[in-house]
Symmetry: C2
């Protein structure tokens, strides 16, 4: 459908990703979409409302699929706790798979979303907070159940780290490019083996990104706990607890 609101939504998303929400002007958007300058205010009311609309469309779908995936896992596990790796796949895998499926603008929004997680703008932050509240609560609870011997605070931190690694993995391709370059102008190692049409396709192969990311995240989630946890537990209940923790964290679910 090439209706005006849709044209605006599509091109706004693209420009927001490219230049940032603050820096993108209504004039840029309407020019790119080939519609009149007044159209944004007519159809959406304001720039803010347009922004909200863009995120709402994608996020409600994404988070509903996440909730559905978690429901399926919990149903399949009956009352037993779900494996951490499955929980992570339901949360982060759903994100990447949706972006991959919807070729039209999927990866674009993925990048925008990654950036927006560190957006300082007030209204965006309260909006995202409300949009994420339920999913985060449900997944947090699932992880806590899944790792009963890991202190709750540590789980929250690691969830936080995982969100960061994912957001940045998607948004900040700069550092990856920087890392990949041998140095300025060095041309060793067969410069053009694959088609250089899409600059990022070499590195950002999205079907390989997911397994790469998942292994990293699971490794981080199950890493040994920092010492102050085991120390605190040791003095509370003499020494058995600490062992249980490092086992459950290093080797699997509870």
């Amino acid at each position: 459908m090439q209706t005006t609101p849709n044209l605006i939504l599509r091109h706004a998303e693209l420009l927001f990703t490219q230049f940032g929400v603050e820096a993108t002007t209504l004039r840029q958007i309407t020019a790119a979409a080939g519609v009149n300058l007044a159209a944004v205010n007519y159809h959406f009311g304001s720039k803010e409302a347009l922004i909200r609309e863009i995120f709402k469309r994608r996020l409600t779908q994404l988070n509903q699929e996440r909730l559905a995936a978690l429901d399926r896992l919990e149903k399949a596990a009956a009352s037993r706790p779900v494996k951490p790796a499955k929980i992570l796949d339901a949360f982060f895998g759903t994100l990447l798979r949706i972006a991959q499926k919807d070729k039209q603008g999927g990866p674009t929004f993925l990048k925008l979303l990654g950036r927006t997680h560190t957006e300082p703008s007030e209204f965006i932050r309260v909006f995202l907070a409300s949009e994420y509240e339920e999913v985060l609560r449900r997944y947090k609870e699932a992880l806590i159940k899944s790792l009963p011997d890991v202190p709750r605070e540590e789980i929250l931190w690691r969830f936080h780290f995982m969100l960061g690694a994912t957001a940045y993995a998607i948004a900040g391709t700069d550092s990856l490019k920087l890392l990949a370059h041998e140095g300025p102008k060095e041309t060793q190692e067969a410069p053009s083996r694959s088609k250089p049409k899409d600059q990022e396709s070499d590195l950002m192969q999205i079907d390989r990104l997911l397994p790469r990311l998942m292994n990293f995240l699971v490794g981080g989630l199950r890493a040994p706990l920092p010492e102050f946890n085991t120390q605190a537990l040791r003095q509370a209940q003499p020494r058995q607890a600490a062992l249980r923790i490092s086992r459950s964290v290093n080797q699997g679910r509870g």
Copy 2:
């Protein structure tokens, strides 16, 4: 020193962190610093130049300390490879320790830096790229030497993920707060045990952040490799290589 340029630098850094670089105006900065509106352009030339100056000050110091730390590690190890965990501590630990030491604005800049890594603004990105080029190259090489059996591409990706987890851990405190909340208005678990003066002090205890982050990062770096790596190697050289890889990744350096 309360000189005008310093007043500007300090308050600009603060406001950039709070509202973002794009959204912060020269009027806000000069008003907060108690200097004249024209002072920024007089002392720095333009808003862009002011931004560059702020990042330059902090980043060159940070990255020089990082290089020095790596030099020390490599000298101490003679020609043997350095342990991955030590490399990570030299890179990410130096960042957090600098921020912690410099009470005056250290944590502020830390947050700003975390956000800036996903900044879409063109001139900031090319500036950051040049500023990081040497450190990233040196640390990349160190990690490659440190994990000789891990494919180079995987190391780059994991370095990328680690950068993300760290940047976000610092910048995006929102999701952490969201995760920490039990739900709206629930007040279980002794609401005010420590002084609530600094809203974030409870969660963002920076001395605990470092061990938490380090364990997570090391866990992620040493996680088992995704399957397509071992498969590729298996068909190239029959099966010994795959075992070597998962050992070196799961248990330690090469």
